[in-house]
């Protein structure tokens, strides 16, 4: 059993512009309408760094900023877990394309931004945070894998942790092999104790039950197409402000059950 409190939340995705708007859709107050994800410019980065950032960094920093803006904790003191099912697909495409030519000229900036921990690195630069930061991947299981890593820091080390799960699309021809349709990110501040801004208490356990689905066909399509969106059943409960239990997708042999108790 991994207990903790969800504080600030950040969401960006196709038709999901921020947490308040996403919460209205997830709780059924507004209909879901798919539209291309709009990514903010990371104004928190110095101009030189900002120019170098791709969609992965814009997405991850965008949701991380929304989540931490609404939490009672200083981002510079928060350990973080960044979980993504793949790296920056556009950079990967450009590097592999360059390596397929006889000239093999790889851009040094693209190469240093090709690391899986690129968003964690830029977040640390942007916030001045020198705390530990993990960068993890578990392919389609990445959301729950990252959530478990973050929740163990919350429960074992009693630290308030920023958890960011995010995926971006791969361009053709890789897109045919990994058909992620668009960018989607979810961030949450997870704390060991209840604070003034706590939204809900959660308890995470492993189970082998079948993962929950979304009843709205548009949201269910999103859930199954983008690994970070496997969190949507949990986000729906948080949006409703309701107590309940959801089962999130994870590995072939195990899932995660999350018990949610809202902080009224």
């Amino acid at each position: 059993m991994l207990p903790g409190y969800v504080g600030g939340i950040g969401v960006l995705g196709p038709g999901l512009r921020n947490w308040p708007q996403a919460a209205a859709i997830l709780s059924g107050k507004q209909p879901y309408a798919a539209e291309p994800t709009v990514l903010p410019n990371p104004s928190m980065l110095p101009p030189a760094e900002r120019r170098r950032t791709g969609r992965v960094v814009k997405l991850a920093l965008g949701v991380a900023l929304e989540a931490t803006a609404h939490a009672d904790a200083d981002p510079a003191q928060m350990p973080s877990v960044f979980s993504s099912s793949g790296g920056d697909g556009h950079i990967c495409h450009e590097i592999c394309q360059a390596l397929a030519l006889s000239t093999r000229e790889v851009s040094p900036t693209r190469f240093s931004n090709s690391v899986h921990n690129v968003a964690a690195g830029y977040w640390s630069i942007a916030t001045g945070s020198m705390t530990e930061s993990n960068a993890v991947c578990a392919f389609d299981a990445s959301f729950t894998a990252g959530l478990l890593d973050a929740m163990t820091q919350v429960t074992v080390d009693r630290q308030t942790v920023l958890f960011v799960a995010y995926d971006t699309e791969y361009p053709p021809p890789l897109h045919a092999k990994r058909p992620i349709p668009d960018a989607l990110g979810i961030a949450m501040v997870l704390a060991p104790e209840r604070t003034a801004t706590s939204v809900a208490r959660i308890d995470v356990t492993l189970t082998d039950e079948v993962p929950d689905r979304m009843s709205d066909p548009g949201l269910e399509a999103l859930r199954s197409a983008i690994p970070a969106a496997r969190a949507l059943p949990l986000m729906r409960l948080l949006a409703l402000g309701a107590a309940g239990r959801v089962v999130l997708d994870y590995l072939d042999v195990s899932r995660a059950a999350v018990q949610v108790e809202p902080c009224a």
Partner: protein, 400 residues
Amino acid sequence: MKPMKPLLLAQFTATSCIGTGVAPTLASLAGQRSGLRRCDFETVKIDTHIGEVPGVDAQRLPAELQLFDCRNNRLAELALQQDGFFDAVKGAAARWGRRRIGVFIGTSTAGIMQTELAYRARDPVSGALPVDFEYGTTHNSFSVADYVRRRCGLDGPALAVSSACASSAKVFGTARRMIEAGLIDAALVGGTDSLCLTTLYGFHSLQLSSPAPCRPFDVARDGISIGEAAAFALLERASDQVGGDAILLYGVGESSDAYHMSAPHPEGLGAKRAMQAALAAASLEPGDIDYINLHGTGTPSNDRSESQAVTSIFGPTTPCSSTKGATGHTLGAAGALEAVISALAIRHGMMPGGVQTTRIDPTLTAHYIKENRHSPVRRVLSNSFGFGGTNCSLIFGCAG
């Protein structure tokens, strides 16, 4: 950082250019032999040296795991076959249960070479990648962790840490948290990174790879030599009565530089913070550390900032060295490889001197050793740092 409960390294193995398995690795270290040689990898035309593991291409994967076939997973398979590692995993699974053992593997590029090769074979008309190219089980960072968990039949939590060159040091941190949280009782941790064009040409483009074999802490050091390796350890809760030759993980310390994507903090502030956190987790003082296995890549900036960070905590007398002159920089596998080297240093009472280095940079104040030292080694600190300013220090030691 509160103290951690020490974890037992119930079994460990390493395969790199200096040895397939721990016995040849130890023999190479004892003989101060380097595995680096001039780069003739694949179609690469760069004036540099590499640490290539022999026999990787000839390695085959079991029929049921053919979708995972790529250089990276072949290297992982080759390494898993050494030192009775499969038997040790089987024993742990019988002891703890398959669901109670996690699998956490560090890698920076996994099997990206499959994608590099697929881009050379695109359909001339449509541009499509070859039909038989598999992304998820080869290129994706999780592929090697997924391969290891399937190959070993382990059903506990699993993930890949891909935090550049600190990846397979940081897996020890993930395992520590999961075990202390009670989610698992044991973990198969490690790292695997294999030679590929992305890293060879990428480090070359950043002017960070040396034409000569890398010379950590040398006054004339001018960059890294890229190597490949796979190293694994089985971590378990330590019982009170561990044997006299047991090796334990005493501390994990992690930090970020908050400075630059591809350059270390000039005074090594992030590195210093990671080492201090590891000492605090291990409830040790700097004077308790007998030997430091440095990150020591051989770039002018890494060695300068790491030396400053080490000296600021340990002063100028704690013996330290980098084993990358022997193995090359094995990137995402370096943390796990050097964890195994640290364990060998403790078990055999030998601090490996840094090979390839001729004249130690007099401006670097850390106590760098070039010759092997034979004396009891009770506690070792091992450093791993990476792009994005990610740092991890591990402390290993004997029981008691």
